[in-house]
């Protein structure tokens, strides 16, 4: 078991004929992911090292049974590509693209909110890796092996750092899910933690947050109320200067300032342990794992 992507994943890559799209599509295929098709308007009929390319997601789904989309197109085309994938019947959409306009994200999020069977992960995320099963995205898979730690993170490279620290202490992962750091992520910490809670293979959950917004505070409430498995958290940004955007209106809205200290306090108030550095997160995880075995 794993969450979201596994050996049943049939991946269609939007933007497959671009440099990055080609590189990661092939990389994912090399890892073992079933990369069944790609979409590039106007290049229907071509192929990328044997992966057939279609003009539309509708054709790609009809011809290759794609159930998962990875979106690699430039920001100005990304919202359209996500909406197209949904319209064509794809049920998991992983958007790697960084820099999508915020109002595009807002429209996409609220549109997908009325489609309970469709899940968007990202945008501006590194994707999802289920070690030994499938890699959808840009996570460097060689650092990770199969295991029982589920990782969910707002950050890309920080995820690798934490995963690496865990790996050095002998942990493997059920799945590593990057939800992205944008203001309107398609999936939240809560969404992914709920999946890990339900996944029999996952025994320990690591959640990596950062300053801004209130997603970590909301996750703290959810974990306390709904999650039976141990959770270790990390928050980046203790040393960061006050956010330069949103100013104080953000604080009026959410009632929280979104600081790292505030987030750590909210998590600890609910009994969730917070590591102060990636190294400390791995140490805490090892400690908890030891107690689980004991």
């Amino acid at each position: 078991m794993a969450v979201l992507v596994d050996t049943d994943t049939r991946l269609c890559v939007s933007g497959i004929t671009g440099r990055e799209g080609t590189f990661h599509a092939l990389n994912n295929r090399t890892y073992g992911t079933q990369v069944v098709s790609g979409v590039t308007p106007g290049k229907g009929g071509q192929d990328v090292e044997g992966i057939p390319v279609f003009n539309t997601f509708h054709d790609a789904v009809a011809e290759t049974g794609a159930n998962t989309a990875m979106v690699f197109v430039p920001p100005r085309f990304a919202a359209d590509s996500i909406l197209e994938a949904e319209d064509a019947g794809v049920r998991l959409i992983v958007a790697i693209t960084e820099g999508i306009p915020a109002h595009d994200e807002l429209r996409v999020y609220n549109h997908l909110a009325s489609k309970p069977d469709v899940r968007l992960v990202g945008p501006n995320c590194p994707g999802i890796l289920s070690p030994g099963k499938a890699n959808v995205g840009i996570i460097p898979a060689s650092f990770f092996k199969e295991g029982n730690v589920g990782v969910v993170s707002r950050s890309g490279t920080l995820t690798y750092q934490i995963g690496n620290e865990l790996a050095q202490r002998g942990f493997g992962n059920s799945s590593i899910v990057g939800i992205g750091g944008d203001p309107v992520p398609g999936s939240s910490f809560i969404d992914i933690i709920a999946l890990f809670e339900a996944d029999p293979e996952t025994e320990l959950i690591v959640m990596s947050g950062e300053i801004g917004g209130s997603a970590e505070e909301e996750a703290a409430e959810y974990i306390a109320a709904e999650v039976s498995k141990p959770v270790v958290a990390y928050i980046a940004g203790f040393t960061a200067p006050e956010g330069k955007t949103m100013g104080h209106a953000g604080a009026i809205v959410s009632g929280v300032a979104g600081t790292a200290a505030g987030k750590a306090a909210a998590l600890e108030a609910k009994g969730i342990r917070v590591g102060r550095t990636p190294t400390e997160v791995a140490e805490v995880a090892a400690e908890i794992a030891a107690s689980l075995t004991a």
């Binding site: 960084e98 820099g99 109002h103 549109h111 460097p140 950050s155 890309g156 950062e210 949103m246 550095t277």
Partner: protein, 387 residues
């Protein structure tokens, strides 16, 4: 977190509002004394001379003055142009017709990240202390979420006005202003529009007397006019230089230059450096997939800050290839006169090749470390030695 956003000066915000029918006072911007006086003459007296800076508290700092006649206008403009307001130099003033103010309300539209919907706020308690009002008695601020797919409806406007306790005769004009404000928020792809104060005149007309607008950098390709509004003069020189090179850079107070790939990892790096007893000089995210060229640029930006005593490179390669990073660093050393020590930690994609390149190049005073923690400790030690 360090999302690319663009704050507008008050007058830029008002001009943007006016395009969508939000009522604003008439006025003109001026960057010189002569322009200011000419504008005041054109507008007539009394008029108001307002400092244009991207920071609050202008009024208290003496940056907003009413002029009864030309002499006063000239005196105020002379005093305000060039004034320093909380670290920002006033390069521009806005001369506007004086308003008849009976009441001061507050209105804004923000992204509510938690609800994933725009949130419209309205309060009768406008003026400077809105945050205090929010803390003291949140019920004084009416809040309504808008489903962005259906947009701002008349009922949203009515609900805000009735819940904020507005007089019946103001429900329509304030509601209409809010609808136009929402249109501006959506059409211009703003992250924030704020009107404080939203004034009611003696004649019961409503006006946006101030304007705070934050635009989304990511959407500027659709708004070429807005893209030109950037107010570079107010930005930190390193930040400006970084922006021109497509890097995300934030100046900090310390002496250790930091470069990483990915905002989360860079923030984490700052934290670890601080824990090790150091003080970061900057946040610099070279971005995913950083190429050699971007790395060279980044080094230039970091070293442009004279406070920097040592530099930490913390790279965990995913899209970013460590050999590209090493190559960039080598090129930077060949084109720049580097006098401070570097600590480099390379992990992830092509890390072996990257470390090999560095070792071959044998750059002066460049130390490689295997772990993030080790690298942080080393750079703190080197910076302390250089003080």
């Amino acid at each position: 977190m360090f999302r690319a956003a663009m704050d507008l000066l008050e007058y830029q915000g008002k001009q943007l509002f006016a395009r969508h029918g939000v009522p604003v006072p008439s006025g003109s911007p001026a960057t010189s004394l002569e322009q200011a006086v000419a504008a005041a003459d054109e507008i007539g007296y009394p008029c108001v001379v307002k400092a244009q800076v991207l920071i609050g508290g202008r009024g208290k700092a003496g940056g907003i003055k009413v002029a009864a006649d030309r002499d006063e206008a000239e005196a105020h403009a002379r005093a305000i142009l060039g004034m320093d307001i909380r670290g920002f130099t006033v390069h521009e003033v806005w001369i506007e017709a004086a308003s008849d103010i009976a009441e001061e309300y507050y209105a804004s539209i923000v992204f509510d990240r938690s609800a994933k919907k725009p949130l419209v706020l309205l309060s009768k308690e406008g003026g400077m202390e809105i945050e205090e009002v929010a803390e003291r008695d949140p019920s004084l601020i009416a809040r309504v979420h808008v489903d962005p797919l259906i947009g701002f409806q008349d009922f949203h406007a009515r609900r805000l006005c009735f819940e904020a306790g507005l007089d019946g005769d103001l429900v329509r004009p304030v509601g209409a202003l809010l609808a136009k404000l929402y249109e501006a928020f959506v059409r211009e792809e703003a992250l924030l529009v704020e009107v404080n104060p939203l004034t009611v005149g003696g004649d019961r007309s409503v006006t946006a007397l101030d304007a705070k607008v934050t635009l989304d950098d990511n959407s500027l390709f659709r708004h070429p006019d807005n893209a030109e509004l950037r107010n570079l003069s107010a930005e930190d020189p390193q930040e400006q230089m970084a922006k021109e090179r497509g890097l995300t850079y934030v100046s900090l107070d310390g002496d250790i230059g930091i470069l990483g790939n990915g905002a989360g990892l860079v923030m984490s790096t700052l934290d670890v450096v601080a824990q090790a007893g150091g003080a970061p000089a900057n946040f610099l995210d070279a971005g995913g997939g950083s190429k050699a060229e971007a790395i060279t640029s980044a080094v230039e930006v970091i070293l442009n800050n004279p406070n920097v005593k040592a530099v930490l490179f913390n790279i965990f390669g995913g899209i970013t290839r460590c050999d590209e990073v090493a190559q960039g660093l080598i090129e930077a050393f060949s084109s720049l006169d580097v006098t401070v020590p570097f600590v480099v930690r390379l992990d992830g994609t092509n890390d072996v090749q990257g470390r090999e390149l560095l070792s071959q190049a044998d750059l002066p005073n460049v130390h490689t470390e295997a772990t993030m923690l080790g690298a942080a400790q080393k750079v703190v030690e080197l910076a302390a030695g250089a003080r």
